[in-house]
Amino acid sequence: MSDAGFIVLSYVFTIGSILLLVVVTIRQGRLLSRQVADQDKPWI
């Protein structure tokens, strides 16, 4: 594959950014979930 560095970098940046936001979202969710009563969580 020619120009592999640029191509792989674009995939790594895209997938990496999504993974980072997913991890941050899960961690924030767990932290906030401890501070909020279950009756205030309509999804439970």
Partner: protein, 259 residues
Amino acid sequence: MYGENDMNHDSTPDAVGGVATSTSRTIGVLAIVTMTWVVVSGLFFTPADANQGDAVRIMYVHVPTAWIAYLAFIVTGVASLTWLLKKTPSLVLDRVAGASAEVGVLFMAMTLVSGSLWGRLTWGTYWVWDPRLTTTAFLFVTYVGYLAVRGLGGSPQQRAQRSAIIASLAVLEIPLVHFSVVMWRSLHQSASILRPDGDVKMDGLMLFTLFSGVFAFTFTFIWLVMHRQRLLMMRDIVIEKGLEVAIRERQIERSGFDK
């Protein structure tokens, strides 16, 4: 509204799991499966382009992220307009608008970065002040500003009102970005898929991988918006509880002075 014990409430073990539900888990699995296929097919299975060579592989992440960023901003716009038009709007609309804008900004950043790398390979430069690139950067900055405005103080209703006005206007930039390649002379290629004549000239596997990318990023978008709007809801509750505790402490302090 909330007692002292509620402030220190420690949820049951199930709730500590966060904001996931069986539906969001299913969407998450679909996102992982389709995204894996896009990466493998995009990098290894699809053929190189006759003109661009292997650089065309960036298309499988660049185009879907751009489309889903548009979708995210349209969702923000529709939710915001609904908030403004309804007599008794629900804060769910505001939270969906905010969560969708957050995800949209991330996807737009991915579009700009992957496009910049693609541009370096095909045009020989990372950036040029071309109409499509300039309007896309303008759209990105607009929604970064929208998120900054959401972060200003005030009640959730005040936040919803002011951000809904901005989002209702900002969504008008999307047609400008999309048709910029038609309206002005642009270095950026015109639409390959969303062509007015409907004539798509692309290899079958390339087209399949591209649309798999659209599905993969759509599942990811839905998963992220579902979770992040729940985060925004919990954050509002925590801030509200904090305010109530502070007011109560102030009142106790004041009654102590009065005595």
